[in-house]
């Protein structure tokens, strides 16, 4: 009995220990390359449009001023409706390629009716994505785009209308790179992929990667950054991962210094002011593996 208990405990302990050792330290998947940028740029239009639509209705936020034309609202509202039948396809891609407001403008935008539509839209949601792909020959990767974004977009559309539902349904996924496309559905304080990429671009200019160090995978530096609404540093950035520093690892010290310097050099960051709540505190993970060839 006791032997089996011991055995049982031993095995469990081993499993937990293994999990503890292996899981947290497992090499994070290689970061998604920034090449995804072009694809994502497509969505930002949709996103901003959607946002605007929302503003029109709910508009808790006064400062969504990406394209402050008066027209925008009309344009988007139509989108959801046509989607069901005649122009489901055009929506996603066109939005990106050419801002085709004219086409839609004519149509009425019955915002109040939103709810009913939503219900209709839901069933059609699935059929839609397939159609668009064939219809649009223009962009080389339309299929992918739609696969990637259509669902989210539709979900977002649906969400707009019933506010309460939105909250409950809201997926609580991380706004890390991959999850970011979902941002549009959010209470719109989450940064979009494009906005995150814009931030990364700022960092890219500022960060002088310490070249040539061996074991680049051990030089990942995590820093907590606190920002003011104007994008400046609210207080000194905090080095989260101090371990290797205490052991006197000169490579790590140089890497940490370079990351801290990059943050100070980049300040103030250009960030979407209306989403301050999502970026007032950032965990930045400086990973030189790609740069140093791992």
């Amino acid at each position: 009995m006791r032997a089996s208990l011991v055995a049982s405990f031993g095995v469990h302990a081993a499993v937990i220990a293994a999990a503890f050792i292996a899981l947290p330290s497992a090499d994070p998947l290689p970061a998604v390359p920034d090449q995804a940028l072009p694809v994502e740029l497509v969505t930002i239009d949709e996103f901003t449009n959607l946002k605007r639509e929302k503003v029109a209705k709910a508009e808790p936020k006064p400062q969504i001023e990406e394209e402050p034309e008066p027209e925008p609202e009309p344009e988007q509202a139509p989108e959801p409706e046509p989607a069901p039948e005649p122009k489901p396809a055009p929506q996603p891609a066109p939005a990106a390629v050419e801002p085709p407001p004219p086409a839609r403008e004519p149509e009425p935008l019955p915002e109040p009716e939103a709810e009913p539509e939503e219900k209709k839209a839901e069933p059609e949601k699935k059929p839609e994505p397939p159609k668009p792909a064939p219809q649009k020959p223009a962009p080389p990767k339309p299929a992918k785009k739609q696969e990637a974004f259509d669902p989210t977009k539709i979900a977002a559309l649906l969400d707009k209308l019933p506010e309460e539902e939105k909250k409950t349904r809201q997926p609580s996924r991380e706004t890390k790179e991959d999850a970011a496309p979902q941002a549009p559905q959010g209470v719109n304080t989450k940064l979009t992929v494009s906005e995150i990429d814009a931030f990364k671009l700022q960092m890219r200019r500022c960060w002088s990667v310490p070249a040539g160090a061996p074991n680049a995978d051990k030089l990942i530096v995590e820093i907590k950054v606190f920002l003011n609404p104007d994008g400046s540093l609210a207080r000194a950035p905090e080095l989260i991962s101090k371990g290797p520093l205490l052991s006197g690892n000169a490579y790590y010290r140089a890497a940490a210094d370079s990351a801290l310097r990059a943050i100070r050099r980049c300040e103030p960051f250009k960030m979407p002011a209306d989403k301050y709540s999502s970026w007032q505190e950032l965990d930045l993970r400086f990973d030189p593996r790609e740069m140093l060839g791992g």
């Binding site: 302990a13 999990a19 002088s208 990667v209 061996p214 890497a255 801290l260 505190e281 930045l284 990973d287």
Partner: protein
């Protein structure tokens, strides 16, 4: 993660329940079990705590920064201050040597003095960092040189992080005034180390073969100079031809090949005492000597008849040991920095290729499989790479590969490139390149591991066969 934690919790309750169900067993057993279960409980708690602790805090938005720039880091190095004109002249020279060193490394970009806004007036006062940020300097080196009343030179320096507004490092040195160059190299090393995390290589020297005279009757003498080409001097008088000098990785000794008496022999030269001696007394010709990492042994090839094999000799006991035994030509041995393995070239498979074997000669296996022939393997002091010369389609290329033969990269190519030697930190290779024609001759070049930072090394004469010293101590 959560499920794991829960299972840890379940274990914990099980261990609590357990003693009660055993109520009727003997008291001793029960006591033991109680102790046992207490131990289990502690264990369970520990695991739960560990697992909980491992859960990352998810408050803030996490962003991975995977892209930066690899442009050279802008550094400002104003001339060092001084009380007298003499002091200031020295100070300015020291700053220039530091700037030249950092620039040559390819990792730094010293900013032109004309762009400086603040004029540093006191080395002990914090600089106005804003002025340096405007010109984009990321680091600032300030210093002062003073000739003391006793004739010694005192040099102080501070390295500042312009953005963190902090001093990163600072030292002062006392030396004789004619040693100022060495001080400048030591400061360069300190700056390099602090900013890259890597050991510097500026306070080092290069031994090479100086070549003079017409192409068919070259006088080849052993020469030595600072890593930046300054302070050249001859070590041998040129009465006999010398080849392939190699530095000891641990002290200031050189081993080389000399044709004294028309018979090539491996020699040993102590740079500090000038003492010179023949290594071993072999019946045939010995070639391509190289030190072991601890400097206590020399490995070389001994030619007898049509073939050559690799031997190792202990410098203290003078005992020699044969490491290879083939009918082929095995030569060019080079130790791994841990001394466990030896890379060498051999034509045992039909063409000249690189092999790696254990230090005792066992388990020799080929690692080079690309097109062409491979020669002169040199193991990096960092251990991660082996440099080689490759002959392919009539071109001589210099490249690196991992010790298992993967990851081959060519760093430079040309009509004739040969004899790579590593900087002590394993980041830079020096080699010689021969130019064509009657007036042509060999000259020294350096290239870093990126392959993009290739620069000539100036020498007063034609020069070949460079050997990089370890850091001076």
């Amino acid at each position: 993660m959560m499920t794991l934690m829960r299972s840890a919790g379940a274990r914990h309750t099980a261990s609590q329940v357990h003693p009660q169900s055993r109520r009727f067993s003997g008291i001793r057993t029960q006591a033991r079990r109680a102790k046992f279960s207490a131990g289990l409980r502690v264990l369970a708690f520990t695991f739960a705590a560990l697992v909980l602790g491992a859960l990352p805090a998810r408050a803030a938005l996490q962003i991975d920064i995977t892209q930066g720039n690899v442009d050279p880091l802008p550094v400002a190095i104003p001339g060092f201050l001084g009380a007298s004109d003499e002091d200031r002249r020295l100070g300015s020279d020291i700053a220039s040597v530091i700037a030249a060193n950092l620039d040559r490394s390819g990792l730094f970009r010293p900013l032109p003095k004309s762009s400086f806004i603040e004029k540093i007036s006191d080395v002990n006062v914090q600089p106005r960092f804003g002025d340096w940020r405007i010109i984009n300097a990321q680091a600032l080196v300030t210093g002062r040189s003073t000739i003391e009343s006793d004739g010694r030179l005192k040099v102080e320096f501070r390295l500042w992080d312009v953005y963190a507004e902090q001093q990163m490092t600072g030292f002062q040195f006392f030396t004789t005034p004619d040693n100022w160059r060495r001080v400048a190299h030591i400061i360069s090393d300190a700056v390099y180390e602090r900013l890259t995390g890597e050991e510097g290589y500026f306070d080092t020297r290069i031994v090479y073969v100086s070549e003079s005279g017409p192409k068919n009757r070259r006088v080849k003498r052993l020469a030595i100079m600072d890593q930046d080409g300054h302070n050249p001097r001859m070590l041998t008088n040129g009465s006999s031809i010398v080849l392939t000098p190699r530095f000891s990785p641990s002290n200031q000794e050189i081993t080389y090949l000399s044709y004294a008496g028309n018979n090539p022999r491996v020699y040993l030269l102590d740079l500090e005492t000038g003492q010179q001696e023949v290594v071993g007394d072999f019946p045939g010709m010995t070639f391509s000597p190289r030190f072991s990492p601890d400097g206590q042994k020399i490995v070389m090839s001994l030619q007898r008849g049509g073939n050559s094999n690799i031997y190792e000799m202990d410098l203290r006991t003078r005992v020699t040991q044969r490491l290879t035994n083939t009918a082929a030509i095995d030569t060019g041995p080079s130790y791994a920095p841990d001394g466990d393995r030896i890379a060498f070239e051999s034509d045992r498979g039909g063409s000249q290729q690189i092999y790696v074997m254990n230090a005792d000669g066992s388990n020799a296996h080929r690692i080079s499989f690309g097109d062409g022939r491979y020669a002169t393997p040199v193991w990096s002091p960092r251990g991660d790479l082996i440099a080689f010369t490759k002959l392919h389609k009539g071109r001589f290329l210099i490249g690196v590969m991992r010790p298992d033969g993967t990851g081959e990269r060519i760093l430079t190519e040309g009509f004739h490139n040969e004899a790579p030697t590593w900087s002590p930190n394993g980041r830079v290779l020096m080699f010689f390149r021969e130019s064509r024609g009657e007036q042509g001759g060999p000259s020294l070049w350096s290239v870093d591991l990126t392959g993009y930072n290739e620069r000539p090394v100036s020498t007063p004469t034609f020069a070949s066969d460079p050997a990089w010293s370890p850091r001076l101590r």
